[in-house]
């Protein structure tokens, strides 16, 4: 691990002011990702800005959303009664993440910025356009089992690792940020950037901009939602494929639906195509399979990750069945 300086500001403005003085700085909250990346030399910030002293950990219902402070721990959000009752897909996504020890440390804001588990990104002996721009993509033509099939480019096929962000994509949550140029709100569908030819640019956050909160819209049919995560082992594993879904049912007819996929795409992958197919259709396996085909229509396997296409379809079908039941 590189030597680094450490700051512990007591207000958001002090935090982004610290950042302005050192553009290569990183914020640290739970530390479950940045410290790991520093140990393996993927990140070597000269300054770590510890934001744990900021008063950003509250969880409260405000109007038609649950307002979650960026420093709320995953455990606290997963255990929150409002979240469990109104948005079970969020609670399940959190409980299926990591281990209890990690969930006790990791924060909501940090989780949204979780870096990919692509083995080439995490190995400094290999090329990676995300870690070292223009060095090439080691994963293309390499060990592909965990690489993405949606939203990829010829420069990057790294899978987005977060479970929570998939649920938030389905909800189209709002990310509240603050920075030198003031406060702003970013819809989740604008928050993540496809890799394109700049895979090192992962979000629309500006330099030093700090996530202060995430609003989870209280979707009227959010109670009928779920998150299904498929993985090699029962716990403590990243998704091979996952699906976050919510269904608005009227009898056997779907009025509205939300669908997002994880484990298969370079960003949390909301599928408007699948949602359109589900809308006003009968809640049946046949419908679900057509929606799954639509969700994966653009998917591209490269050999070792071909299986993710049928697996993601089955995962989505199963998640829709669970939600409809």
């Amino acid at each position: 691990m590189n030597p680094f300086r450490y700051a512990r500001p007591s207000s958001p403005s002090a935090a982004f002011t610290d950042f302005a003085g050192e553009r290569r700085a990183r914020y640290v909250a739970g530390g479950t990702n940045i410290l790991d990346l520093m140990k393996i030399e993927v990140e070597s910030p000269p300054l770590l800005i510890d934001i744990n002293a900021l008063a950003l950990a509250s969880i409260e219902v405000t109007g038609d959303a649950i307002h979650v402070g960026a420093l709320a721990r995953l455990t606290d959000v997963a255990e929150n009664e409002q979240v469990r009752t109104h948005l079970p897909l969020v609670a399940i996504a959190l409980e299926e993440s990591a281990s209890p020890q990690l969930r006790n440390m990791a924060t909501i804001g940090g989780n949204l910025l979780q870096r990919t588990r692509c083995p080439y990104f995490r190995d400094t002996a290999t090329p990676c356009n995300k870690r070292a721009p223009k060095s090439g993509c080691g994963a293309l033509g390499g060990e592909l089992r965990r690489e993405a099939v949606l939203g990829t480019s010829e420069h990057c096929i790294a899978t987005h690792a977060s479970d929570l962000a998939v649920a938030l994509a389905a909800l189209d949550a709002t990310v509240h940020v603050t920075g030198l140029s003031g406060n702003r709100e970013i819809a989740l569908h604008d928050f993540y950037r496809l890799p394109g030819d700049t895979p090192h640019v992962e979000t629309s956050l500006g330099p030093g901009e700090l996530i202060v909160a995430v609003s989870l819209p209280l979707l009227s049919y959010g109670a009928r939602s779920t998150y299904l995560k498929v993985r090699d082992r029962a716990q403590y594993d990243f998704a091979l494929a996952s699906a976050a879904v919510a269904l608005d049912l009227s009898g056997k007819t779907i009025r509205q639906a939300r669908v997002a996929l994880g484990g298969v795409a370079t960003i949390p992958w909301r599928s408007l195509q699948a949602e359109a197919l589900l809308r006003n259709a009968a809640a049946s396996r046949d419908t679900f399979e057509r929606a799954a085909d639509a969700a994966l229509a653009e998917a591209r396997g490269r050999g070792g990750n071909d299986y993710k296409i049928p697996l993601a379809k089955r995962t989505l079908v199963r998640a829709l069945e669970i939600a409809a039941a």
Binding site: M1, G142, D232, R233, K308, L311
Partner: protein, 693 residues
């Protein structure tokens, strides 16, 4: 004594130390003046080092020395014997595998050494590494552990050609890396020409002799101390490069040096189970009686070394079949040297053989258990020797009863648990068990306490407990009065603690020594002189040991559920019954069996070292991406020990049980997955992508 001590589920004597953190492992050793070393592993798998720029590393805080092939002490990395490994000791610029040691940074603190290691800039000239298991040049080894690598009885080819029923399939098992909780590590200290090593090893005496060869000194100039070992499973059976690198670094800087292998480096130079490809051909009568078995094995080895995964030994010594053929051949790849991993050969070989037996059972529509019984061997089929004891029938019967095997509906995909597919599978477990020469020193003190001392090691198997149980029962004194000392080449010599041989070897000499002491005390009228009684006792296998075939056996039964949509497999129940001879301690024995089963499940479903086929770089060198089971993946394995006295096997009447538990376990799971799904996975691990049908 009214209650026999041997066999009792006595708590580990070192248990309180271990659970309170008091137990000391190699990484805990502190010596005055100690400095710390970090190994720099190579970033390529084949080629040479063109240039090393160590200026930045040398300038980093706390750095004492940077040892590269330019300034490393000249030593001998060569192999003194075929069974030894080439060491990678910075004697030249060659690189043969991914994460080969190419430099060592020595600093005042571990953090400083680790940081400076990143600052070393190495320029390589990379050659294309050989990574293609199927296409790489292969050769036939001269022998496998002293036995022929290619062997035949009867005429298996001819028998196969005319067999009424034939099964011929190819099975694959991947490279698997040992990951004991304690990684490898060494503390090296020179005192003139005398070297003291603290080392996490399965064999203090092996390290002593090998390190002496490296430095060209006498073994007597080296003392090796082995504190508690936090698991080894074969990976610490031989001396690897870092042990010598620690001693070289200590020589170079004139200070004691601690070198601890990091978790990612566990995927470097400290051994692994090689990937295998096994062709199994079975010929049988319609009633299931085997007429021939052929088992042809390919297992990877490294560029400069030879290790054979002896898969076919399992099938050779298992069923009553007249015609049998086996072969082993080795593709050479740019990988580090493979080595022993729990049940070497038997665990991988049993996956292939016992999967093939399952395929035969379905082919002729016979219950898989009944098929095994129809081929039951009363004598070891190849040697023709009688077994010293064999309780395999009882293992089958008891495990089947506990498991309720009778409820199985034979047709695949015919049983369910809710919406999940339910599958039941079984396999035979078997592992040869041997003993070798061992020595102990036994000392009776005038206060009535007894010390049994032996240079074997404690790697979690329970040696300080079970040998105290053995000795105290013979001496008819309370268990608490016997203490077992271990882990030091200054103590009498013990063999390599591997190959399921320690209980038989050390146990037998403990029996001999305790018996001598009991008689001696009786001769002295029951009193112990003020200065005590001491004797060094040695024991080795005699002619009697050659007249019997010595094998541990077992029967493994697995119950799985498979999600028909997602292909996720979970093992929900596991029953194993084992013939492990006399059980020395029911509790530690149970742990051994359970540990084997857990690893077998892991092998079936999770473990695989994933290489980049272009570069031979290991892409999952960490415990997040190299999967081992979590508690949630493992049911509570139910173990039944079928005990029977075995007076023929050795004076301790024990079979080795450290490895039999893994054998057959992966096959039982794979067979259960087939029963659940109708999909036969012949390529481990069984991951969801292989079940999407």
């Amino acid at each position: 004594m009214s209650q026999p001590l041997v066999g009792a589920p006595h708590d580990r004597v070192e248990g309180p130390e271990k659970v309170t953190g008091e137990a000391r492992y190699t990484a805990d050793v502190v010596i005055e003046g100690l400095v710390h070393a970090a190994v720099v592993p190579s970033g390529i798998a084949n080629g040479r080092i063109v240039a090393v720029d160590d200026s930045e590393a040398r300038a980093a805080p706390g750095v004492i020395e940077v040892m590269t092939h330019h300034n490393a002490p000249r030593v001998s990395a060569a192999k003194p014997a075929d069974s030894d490994s080439l060491l990678f000791l910075l004697q030249n610029d060659r690189i043969e595998f991914d994460r080969q040691p190419i430099a060592v940074v020595i600093a005042q603190s571990l953090e400083e050494a680790t940081y400076a290691a990143q600052l070393l800039h190495v320029r390589y000239e990379a050659d294309h590494p050989e990574t293609n298991f199927d296409a790489a040049p292969r050769y036939v080894p001269k022998e496998i552990f002293g036995e022929p690598a290619t062997h035949q009885r009867g005429d298996p080819e001819k028998a196969f050609a005319t067999a009424p029923v034939r099964i011929e399939q190819t099975y694959r098992t991947p490279t698997e890396h040992h990951n004991p909780m304690e990684t490898h590590g060494t503390v090296a200290q020179w005192n003139g020409e005398h070297l003291t090593l603290h080392d996490s090893s399965q064999w203090a005496f092996g390290v002593q002799r090998r390190i002496a060869k490296v430095f060209g000194i006498d073994a007597e100039q080296v003392r090796v101390i082995v504190p508690y070992v936090g698991g080894a499973f074969g990976s610490k059976g031989q001396m690897w490069s870092h042990v010598a690198l620690a001693a070289m670094a200590a020589k170079l800087v004139g200070r004691p040096v601690k070198l601890i292998v990091t978790r990612p480096q566990m995927f470097g130079w400290v051994g692994h189970r090689p990937q295998t490809e096994q062709r199994v051909a079975l010929g049988a009568q319609r009633d299931g009686r085997l007429v021939c078995v052929t088992h042809d094995v390919l297992s990877e080895t490294s560029v400069s070394d030879e290790f054979v995964e002896p898969c076919a030994v399992f099938s050779r010594d298992l069923y009553a079949v007249e015609n049998y053929g086996m072969s082993h051949a080795l593709p050479r790849l740019n990988i580090s040297k493979p080595t022993y991993q729990r049940g070497p050969g038997e665990s991988t070989g049993s996956f292939a053989m016992e999967s093939a037996m399952d395929e035969l059972a379905y082919e002729i529509d016979i219950d898989p258990l009944e098929l095994r019984l129809r081929n039951y061997s009363e004598r070891q089929p190849d040697s023709g020797k009688p077994y010293s004891s064999k309780q395999l029938r009882q293992c089958y019967a008891r495990a089947a009863e506990r498991f309720d095997w009778g409820r199985r509906v034979p047709q695949p995909r015919s049983m369910n648990e809710g919406r999940l597919l339910l599958g039941l599978g079984m396999a035979t477990a078997s592992r040869n068990t041997h003993r070798t020469a061992a020595k102990v020193r036994i000392r009776a003190n005038s206060d009535g306490t007894v010390v049994v001392a032996c240079g074997t090691i404690e790697q979690g198997c329970g040696s300080p407990t079970v040998y105290a149980q053995l000795a105290s029962e013979i001496l008819e004194i309370p268990f608490e009065r016997v203490r077992f000392e271990f882990g030091d080449t200054n103590l009498p010599e013990a063999p390599l603690a591997a190959g399921s041989q320690t209980s038989g070897s050390v146990g037998s000499v403990v029996v001999k020594a305790a018996t001598w002491l009991r008689d001696k005390i009786a001769d002295l009228g029951g009193t112990i002189p003020p200065n005590g009684i001491v004797l060094d006792v040695a024991d080795e296998p005699g002619e009697n040991d050659e007249s019997y075939a010595t094998q541990a056996f077992g029967a493994q039964f697995a119950q799985v559920v498979v999600d028909p949509d997602t292909g996720e497999v979970r093992v929900v129940r596991f029953v194993g019954a084992f013939d492990g001879g006399r059980i020395l301690n029911a509790k530690t024995a149970n742990s051994q069996f359970v540990g084997g089963i857990v690893w077998g499940i892991s092998m079936a479903l999770f473990e695989k070292t994933r290489y980049d086929a272009r570069t031979a770089r290991i892409m999952n060198a960490n415990l997040s991406d190299y999967l081992v089971p979590t508690n949630a993946d493992i049911p509570n394995p139910e173990v039944i020990a079928i005990e029977a006295d075995d007076p023929h096997i050795n004076p301790a009447h024990v079979k080795g049980i450290g490895e039999v538990g893994i054998t057959g376990a992966a096959a039982a799971v794979a067979n259960a997955v087939y029963h659940a799904t109708g999909v036969r996975v012949r390529d481990l691990p069984i991951t969801p992508d292989k079940l999407l049908v």
